[in-house]
Symmetry: C2
Subunit: 360 residues, 2 copies
């Protein structure tokens, strides 16, 4: 078996230890005589799996008791509707548009109320985080929305916006569990797990209890009511059991490494290897304003499309997969999530140095 | 490794061959150096997986070209809203209520229009399929809805209702791929895969193209529009990739066994082992009207609650898992989906005979 270095933006690399355990347990989970894929979600065995997953996530993120943790389906894209459906009481929300996913969320929310774009960085291809210290927050805004880490553009909110007392909501898909997060600063955070936590098909919503409403508009599907999902412990219907099981293993893997402080240190060291090289290279350069750089997604370019394409092709040959950048940015992007070993980034930088020397 | 006989109603037993293959490919899918869980859904590798899955399903079910196949998330429960959201033009639908899932679908649809219950078997705990040859179909009905196989109650529509020309819609979750189905008789069939096809978290919708509309009400979430999903090849956002991969393996497993005609024969022989015994036993009896019996779910009782409980407990000890019946029926239920080997049913019947002798 030869594993590649997989820099995919998501679905993305998972810890080898987690995959190995899942492999060992595939035919017979801990002597119960069946695969987790075959377990009734109403069985004690599966209840233990989901309960442990929730408990470990609560411990890792230090989630207060007055927040519910929901394991849902449908991806962030379904929550682009779920958030306004559930949180809009006044029918007003403020969105900060820092990338494609924030923009999609902003557009979807317009189905459900008056939505203000209070800040944007679209003028410079989302290569920076706008100043959010004094935004024109709507008096009636039910919430202020951000996409915390912008997967395509490689930016992250190092400082949270000043919401002037309004509830802050964040899509944290691509920085989930990459470093500590003060959940109490948010009314709701949510994310697809397929970047940093598990296989695609699981969506985690963490919501403060007082925001969970019963009086939703009639046309809200029962499955999309946070109240229904919270009251049923994420099992109003059959949840994505196998995905939740893998997430649970990833939570334990992170705990084993020392939790989110340790993960942050690891991620900072790992990202520094690549950013330091980008800052010293004559050929490759990062596309993001330095102070807004993400620890997770690192877009870079040579400035020459043909050379970019040559790099991506040769990198693939050398075992570095999925380095092609998003079409709206061009060039390359290395997604270096939790499960990407530092060694993978070091080898990538070695390869970039070699490529630069050969193509100078 | 010792595998049990798992009679769970869903998630349920999967073919051992499929699990073994998945186990072998866990760390490195066919030399690509990564797990299917780690693959970008935009990669050629994953595109091949989903394309093959669709092609195999089309071949197995003989799905005509004017039907779209969608791989979605959210379970049947989300489609309880998705179906009326997408198919109601007149705002009217007729529902045939033959069990708990049909009833939930019926209740959910009331959020979206005028919904008529045109037939029901609730008067006798859903133990039969009502006569549907001459129903009071609404002139304006956009569709007539059935739950084809009733998981909890063990009934199945052996004959389709006379819809008087209206579009027929069916939830086929618990009889998916258990026998041939003439798709052309339906406008839309859909089902969660976690009973007969794969792990929970994947929902397959098969819909005739002329029913796919663009002019949906504003509040329909983009993710729930069949038009959007069809136009994007089920990849408007990241699909549940690993689940689709497992479904694909199950499709190939069924093809290898000879397709749906062969599967039907297998299932009939298997179910006969249990039904023949139930019809001859003095202790155990089936709860369903004979002509409406399902090949997939077989509820039965002793007539004595304590004896039922004793049976379930001793069966579990002997390696027969998940035989407890649904609380609304009581007693026992053996779900004997495609992947349950005939041997499992034979051994169960042996065990029942022994129990009957010991407890006569």
């Amino acid at each position: 078996m030869s594993r590649v270095y997989n820099f995919s933006a998501g679905p993305a690399v998972l810890p080898e230890e987690v995959l190995k355990e899942a492999q060992e347990e595939m035919m017979d989970y801990r002597g119960c005589g069946m695969s987790v894929m075959e377990m009734s979600h109403r069985s004690k065995m599966f209840q233990t799996i989901i309960d442990e997953a929730e408990a470990d996530l609560r411990e890792l993120m230090n989630i207060p008791d007055n927040y519910k943790v929901l394991f849902l389906q449908g991806g962030a894209a379904l929550q682009f509707a779920g958030v306004p459906m559930n949180l809009m009481k006044n029918g007003v929300a403020d969105y900060i548009v820092t990338g494609q996913w924030a923009k999609k969320a902003y557009v979807e929310a317009q189905k459900y109320g008056k939505v203000n774009k209070v800040a944007s960085s679209e003028d410079e291809t989302f290569s920076y985080i706008p100043d959010c210290s004094d935004l024109p927050i709507d008096e009636d805004a039910d919430y202020v929305y951000i996409c915390m880490n912008n997967t395509i553009y490689g930016t992250v909110f190092h400082e949270l916006p000043n919401t002037k007392g309004k509830t802050l909501v964040a899509d944290i898909s691509s920085c989930f569990l990459s470093e500590p997060l003060d959940v109490t600063k948010f009314g709701l955070v949510y994310g697809g797990v397929q970047k940093n936590v598990g296989p695609s098909g699981v969506q985690i919503v963490i919501i403060r209890e007082d925001l969970i409403r019963e009086d939703l508009p009639q046309w809200v599907p029962t499955m999309m009511s946070y109240k229904v999902q919270a009251d049923n412990g994420s099992m109003y219907n059959t949840p994505p059991c196998y995905g939740i099981y893998i997430c649970g293993k990833v939570f334990k893997w992170i705990k084993g490494l020392g939790g989110l402080e340790a993960m942050k240190k690891r991620n900072e060291e790992k990202a520094a290897v690549l950013y330091d090289f980008l800052d010293s290279s004559k050929m490759f350069k990062g596309t993001v304003r330095k102070e807004d750089r993400s620890l997770m997604n690192v877009p870079f370019v040579t400035g020459d499309k043909d050379l970019d394409a040559k790099f991506v092709a040769e990198a693939k040959e050398a075992g570095f997969e999925n380095l092609k950048g998003h079409r709206t940015v061009g060039g390359m992007r290395a997604s270096i999530y939790n499960a990407m070993p530092k060694e993978g980034v070091e080898k990538l930088v070695e390869f970039m140095k070699k490529f630069e020397a050969e193509n100078a």
